[in-house]
């Protein structure tokens, strides 16, 4: 039985439907990352759970109680806002202490708990500063501390790393799971950074057009995206997509791609005879200087080193652009300038999407 339940939640603003029937169950202690592009309705979803908005339809339950119609102050949730929303006229200490003061805890307990969380987030030396004297990173940690300090049953984090610099973002991405585990909180984490989603989520819920297009663990989202749209959102560089029409012959189902015929794994049989898009992740293309079994000739246009991995821009003989990635060490083997190389796609990892609907039709889901 899920601890936090969204049941067919709908919300419109001035006739524009932002959420059209969203359902989700979050277990106690689980972190679910709500991922979507900006304007997908992620923040609205959090605000519905926090009680700032009420759903037009559907139910929100925390524990087994419906919280629809219950004021934000009575829901026992903690929330960190994207814009921090600190109280400008109170020092950091009072900002963090606010949820405890609302619960009328004794003064010594307030002091103890604020100092504990501040120590954990390494802001204990700035507790007497007003928000305007804090750096962005400190503001963000103060906001996070405020949302955590009372140990709320549900923690809502609205893209808390959005407005901090890259170094701190990287640190916090490593640190946050530990902090969240310490507090055993049930967490909804909103982000539009797929790496953050993959790093922090026990599960990822992908919000597209006001619906959850897929709710699954990070690895499953990456390997078996439910649709083309999801496949494109996860992965950098983005997945290569080409129109194709798989067909069956004596040897099984195959596909005509880059001027050659490639065999598809058996789980892709359903796609035979349908107009499809085939998706190949850049890291699933093996690039070599010599011809090898199952490789097609392509032209190497550019190599972009990205420290750990290099991105290769290739062009097939028909002129289609292909993105591939390989380790930096491998990339050093390719001389500068345009060059003829061979590309061997790992077809066992290929994804097939219906061209009309974008739904994945191969490989079949298990």
């Amino acid at each position: 039985m899920s601890y936090l339940t969204l049941d067919g939640v709908k919300k419109s603003f001035r006739k524009e439907e932002v959420l059209s029937g969203v359902s989700l169950g979050v277990e106690r202690g689980e972190t679910v990352v709500v991922f979507g592009t900006s304007g997908a309705g992620k923040t609205v979803l959090l605000r519905l759970i926090a009680g700032m908005y009420e759903p037009d339809e559907g139910d929100i339950r925390i524990g087994s109680e419906s919280v629809v119609g219950v004021g934000p102050e009575a829901r026992d949730v903690g929330m960190a806002f994207q814009n921090f929303a600190l109280y400008p006229h109170m020092p950091a200490f009072e900002n963090i202490a606010s949820p405890l003061r609302a619960r009328r805890r004794p003064e010594d307990e307030i002091r103890r708990r604020v100092h504990r969380i501040a120590g954990l987030l390494r802001i204990d030396h700035v507790l007497h500063h007003l928000p305007r004297a804090l750096s962005n990173g400190q503001k963000q940690r103060t906001a996070l501390a405020r949302s955590l300090v009372s140990g709320p049953s549900v923690l809502l984090l609205d893209d808390p790393l959005r407005n901090v610099d890259a170094k701190l973002r990287y640190e916090m991405r490593l640190e946050l799971p530990r902090v969240l585990r310490d507090f055993e909180a049930t967490v909804i984490y909103v982000t539009q950074d797929y790496k953050e989603a993959m790093a922090l989520g026990d599960r990822i819920a992908v919000l597209i057009d006001g619906r959850f297009a897929q709710v699954a663990p990070p690895a499953a989202i990456y390997r078996e995206p439910a649709s083309m749209a999801i496949a494109r959102l996860f992965g950098d560089p983005t997945i290569n997509l080409y129109p194709c029409r798989p067909s069956a012959n004596g040897e099984g189902v195959g596909v005509e791609l880059f001027g050659s015929r490639f065999a598809l794994p058996p789980a892709c049989e359903e796609a035979a005879g349908r107009d499809c898009l085939i998706g190949l992740r850049p890291e699933h293309l093996q690039i070599g200087m010599e011809r090898s079994e199952g490789a097609v000739p392509v032209e190497l246009d550019a190599v972009t080193p990205l420290n750990v991995r290099a991105v290769l821009l290739l062009k097939t003989q028909a002129g289609e652009e292909v993105l591939a990635s390989c380790s930096e060490a491998d990339a050093l083997r390719f001389p500068r300038g345009h060059r003829a190389v061979w590309a061997r796609p790992a077809m066992e990892t290929a994804l097939l999407f219906d061209r009309e609907s974008g739904e994945r039709i191969g490989p079949r889901r298990h």
């Binding site: 700032m52 934000p72 102050e73 814009n83 929303a85 007003l130 928000p131 305007r132 407005n163």
Partner: protein, 285 residues
């Protein structure tokens, strides 16, 4: 380089001096007049050098005006006191009524909300006499004529819209997320209003209150029609100086100095709230 900045500075000082002289000279002249007798004031050509006298102030404070035609009783100090009572009570009442209303208009969309807000503003469009004459008849019937309560009520026509519209703008400038965060922390909406919204809008409330106080203080026509001598503020009371034996310029000047002082002190005091920044770095810049 140094030369041009020096010249620039001198030019700027001269310009500032001219502007200052233009606006402050009348006040300075009134201050001088308040220490002169009527004869000294009316002498031609006027002179900056004179024997200062306190008799104008003495006359105002004692309430006895000596003129060529004889002694005249005036109630200037009482008028001044009336002004203080009327202006401060009106502003206090308008704050109690107007600040929550401004918050409601800023935060909630409700039916006819904009219409109500605009109607309140429109009280300031009509010439006061338009409403005053019928109002005077009503007041006589219901017994509010010549009472502080009646006047304070009518003063709301001036101060309430002012406070409502200025404070509303300040409330709108506060990020709603700050208030949302406070409620999610577990505080009721009323505490959110008193602990978050009001402190953050305080510079705006101070500015609006000061402005409203000045407007109320300077009002003339309401009390002229709706009150008799013992309830009238200084603005109306000053009419007493236009006597049968001539206009008592010295006393008028002294009265002006005395009646400007409270507002001036209040403005100086409120200044620090006015300059206090509103956006204090609560949300990202």
């Amino acid at each position: 380089m140094q030369r041009t900045t020096t010249i620039g500075r001198i030019v700027r000082w001269i310009l500032l001096l001219l502007v200052g002289l233009f606006f402050l000279f009348p006040i300075f002249w009134v201050l001088l007049m308040s220490f002169q007798t009527n004869a000294q004031i009316l002498r031609i050509p006027p002179s900056l050098f004179f024997e200062p006298t306190l008799e104008n102030y003495a006359a105002l404070i004692s309430g006895r005006l000596e003129t060529a035609a004889g002694t005249l009783e005036i109630s200037f100090m009482r008028n001044l006191w009336n002004s203080v009572i009327l202006s401060s009570s009106s502003v206090l009442l308008a704050l109690v009524l107007g600040v929550p209303a401004a918050y409601a208009f800023a935060r909630f969309r409700f039916r006819l909300g904009e219409d109500i807000a605009f109607t309140l503003l429109s009280f300031r469009f009509a010439p006061p006499l338009l409403v005053l004459l019928p109002l005077a008849l009503y007041f006589q019937t219901i017994g509010l004529n010549d009472t502080y309560i009646g006047l304070i009520w009518v003063y709301q026509l001036i101060v309430l819209p002012l406070i409502l519209w200025i404070v509303r703008g300040y409330f709108e400038d506060i990020s709603p997320d700050i208030e949302h965060a406070y409620r999610v922390d577990g505080h009721s909406w009323i505490r959110t209003f008193t602990r978050i919204a009001i402190p953050l809008a305080r510079p705006g409330i101070a500015a609006a209150a000061l402005l409203a106080f000045i407007f109320a203080w300077n009002n003339f026509i309401f009390a002229l029609i709706l009150a008799s001598a013992d309830k009238q503020p200084v603005t109306v009371g000053a009419l007493a100086f236009v006597t049968a034996s001539g206009i008592q310029y010295g006393q008028i000047a002294a009265a002006v100095v005395l009646s400007v002082t409270p507002t001036l002190l209040l403005a100086l005091y409120a200044q620090r709230y006015l300059v206090e920044g509103l956006s204090l770095g609560a949300v990202k810049g």
